[in-house]
């Protein structure tokens, strides 16, 4: 399971957003400049958008009702009627996979928003206030000592397997790595002259944090969030596969694969497509993340 966003090469970097993204045409030029800065990043952006489109327009893209069972049609191989075949209850796998994107997107983006919120708060507090640092970071260390899926399963055991609980479980397990990165950035920033200058001018802590520290932590935070998103999607699939995540009949890529496991010998196609969707979705996010990191920090380019 690639469930570790704490890869040490994502070292905190204080970058200058806007560098190398200067465009002259139109308001969106800087953004598209980054998102389509090279081939791999473009693929990443397109894959990420494709998953979002799938989730948003699932009712229009699906050819069948993802929940409608039809026993006479069960375990059909892919055909023109059922592009990806049918499952053990005769449901259309293509339509279920399209709807499955909704779970991944809902869980993934909610986790990103929440981990960013908590990670930013904890990281800034720990990095900026020495007296909080020890306590907060020891708590983060303790959480990081539990492997992600183990901790998430234990949390879900306590809360019950529901989508909102999956979101909370993953938020708790993934916040420490974000907090750590933010803390690292803040520790570096705090010593820089412009912060001292602002303080000398009489800026209070809150203003310093909101106007100077947080905006300068955004670049590494954005990069981190693409990786958190990928990990969250993988973990949600893993949890649903184990039976602790999204519950049937709601289709998610993970629980579709759990169904597939039982029919491996008779209906191998059941296991192909949900997995391909997961790989493409996570691959897209990683490519996008690598591209953003290179754009924000030229020193990391090509590594």
């Amino acid at each position: 399971m690639t469930d570790d966003p704490r890869a040490p090469d994502e070292a905190p970097v204080v970058a200058a957003p806007g560098r190398s993204v200067r465009g002259k045409r139109g308001l969106l030029a800087p953004v598209t400049g980054v998102l389509f800065r090279n081939q791999l990043t473009s693929i990443g952006t397109l894959l990420t958008l494709a998953i979002l489109v799938m989730a948003a327009f699932a009712p229009f893209l699906a050819t069948h009702d993802p929940l409608r069972t039809n026993v006479r049609n069960r375990l059909q191989a892919p055909s023109t009627e059922h592009w990806m075949g049918t499952d053990d209850a005769g449901r259309d796998i293509y339509s279920r996979a399209i709807y499955g994107a909704r779970v991944s997107v809902r869980v993934g983006y909610s986790v990103v928003v929440l981990t960013t919120l908590f990670g930013l708060t904890i990281g800034v507090a720990a990095g900026y206030y020495r007296w909080l640092d020890g306590l907060l970071m020891r708590i983060m260390d303790a959480l990081m000592a539990f492997p992600t899926i183990f901790l998430a399963i234990a949390i879900l055991a306590a809360l019950g397997p529901r989508e909102t609980n999956v979101i909370w479980a993953l938020t708790i397990t993934l916040t420490p790595s974000t907090a750590r990165i933010v803390r690292g950035v803040v520790l570096t920033l705090k010593e820089l002259d412009f912060i001292n200058a602002a303080r000398a001018l009489g800026a209070r802590d809150l203003r310093l944090l909101v106007r100077h520290v947080v905006p300068n932590s955004l670049a590494p935070l954005i990069v981190q969030s693409t990786f958190v998103l990928g990990v969250a999607i993988l973990s949600e699939a893993g949890l649903s596969f184990v039976g602790a995540g999204t519950q049937p009949p709601t289709p998610s890529w993970g629980n579709m694969l759990a169904d597939a496991k039982r029919y491996l010998f008779v209906a191998p196609w059941m296991s192909y497509f949900p997995g391909v969707f997961i790989v493409l979705g996570v691959l897209g996010l990683n490519l996008l993340g690598d591209g953003l990191r290179d754009a924000f920090d030229p020193r990391m380019r090509g590594r």
Binding site: D4, A142, P147
Partner: protein
């Protein structure tokens, strides 16, 4: 060195305590009552109370925690609610398969990933480097359980080369039979680790190859191989070690899911079963033990830094 180890261990104490509290609280905040699992839904309240008393659940939380953690410190993880056996006995049966799986996966990952990483850094932008990049990108994005399903399909169902399910203990079926049952799960589990390690090895090597002393070595006319493998590699070992340490944690975590794919009788199976049965002592114990292993691995990695980089002195 000894002072460093002692100091590191002392720093670990609050983390272990915190981990213990976290494991305990997580499990005890569960809304359901484990006593329900032993009784009819319409058992009289006195009966429920008796069971709660027997399980020690009638005591206040802090007392329960001290009882449990005190036992843990003496090597007693308590009794399983469900099986009426000491938790430690259940672990003695469930941990070895998981440890074997983790070790073989790590072994596969390292012997595959380190050479790939080194070569793709030395031959940057070559065909091999591109191949390595694709290997890494796919590896990081592929869920291990899906890879497991595909491997079963190809090697067990279609080709019939490997068993699809289960695990043969080496002491029961011999080493060869045991390894046969380990190969597919290890590949499924190890691939993502290999991807992480290859990526880090490559970037670590690239960083070192850019240094002035490498250029100096080349300028002196030292053979290319010697520069790469003696001068550069030695200095790239630290980041490689770090990522191997991280990979261990992620392998242990991943083993939980992979074990379910291959019906492996390891910790993953035990934890998932205990979760559904609300078997508190087993869940707490496995959380604590797994976290303990992770902390221990980190400690070992820290110590190895001193071996690979003589500049690091821990006293």
């Amino acid at each position: 060195m000894t002072t460093f180890i002692v100091r590191r261990l002392v720093v670990t104490i609050p983390v272990v305590l915190m981990v213990g509290i976290a494991a305990f609280l997580l499990v005890h905040l569960t809304p359901g009552d484990p006593a329900d699992f032993f009784l009819d839904p319409d058992a009289p309240p006195e009966e429920i109370e008796r069971v709660r008393e027997r399980l020690g659940l009638d005591q206040p939380l802090p007392v329960q925690f001290v009882n449990w953690f005190g036992g843990v410190l003496q090597g007693d993880l308590g009794q399983s609610f469900h099986q009426d056996r000491p938790v430690i006995d259940m672990f003695a049966r469930a941990f070895p398969p998981t440890i074997y799986l983790t070790i073989t996966s790590l072994f596969l990952a390292v012997i595959l990933a380190v050479p790939i990483g080194i070569l793709s850094a030395i031959k940057q932008d070559s065909l091999l480097d591109r191949f390595a990049t694709v290997f890494v990108l796919i590896g990081v994005a592929t869920p291990n359980f899906w890879l497991g399903l595909l491997l079963i399909q190809l090697f067990a169902v279609q080709l019939g080369w490997m068993p699809a399910q289960g695990f043969v203990r080496p002491e029961e079926g011999g080493l060869a039979a045991s390894l046969r049952t380990l190969i597919l799960p290890s590949i499924a589990l190890g691939y993502s680790g290999a991807a992480l390690i290859a990526r880090m090895t490559r970037s670590g090597m690239l960083e070192v190859l850019r240094q002035d002393y490498v250029r100096t070595a080349r300028a002196k006319g030292i053979a290319e191989n010697r520069v790469n493998y003696v001068h550069a590699l030695r200095n790239a070992l630290n980041p490689i070690l770090t990522v191997i340490g991280l990979a261990v944690a992620s392998l242990i975590s991943g083993s939980l899911v992979v074990e379910l794919v291959f019906n492996f009788p390891g910790v993953g199976r035990l934890v998932v079963d205990s979760v559904f049965r609300r078997d508190y002592p087993v869940i707490q114990g496995s959380l604590l033990l797994i976290a303990g292993i992770t902390i221990f691995v980190n400690l070992v990695v820290d110590l190895l830094y001193a071996v690979t980089d003589p500049r690091i002195r821990y006293d």
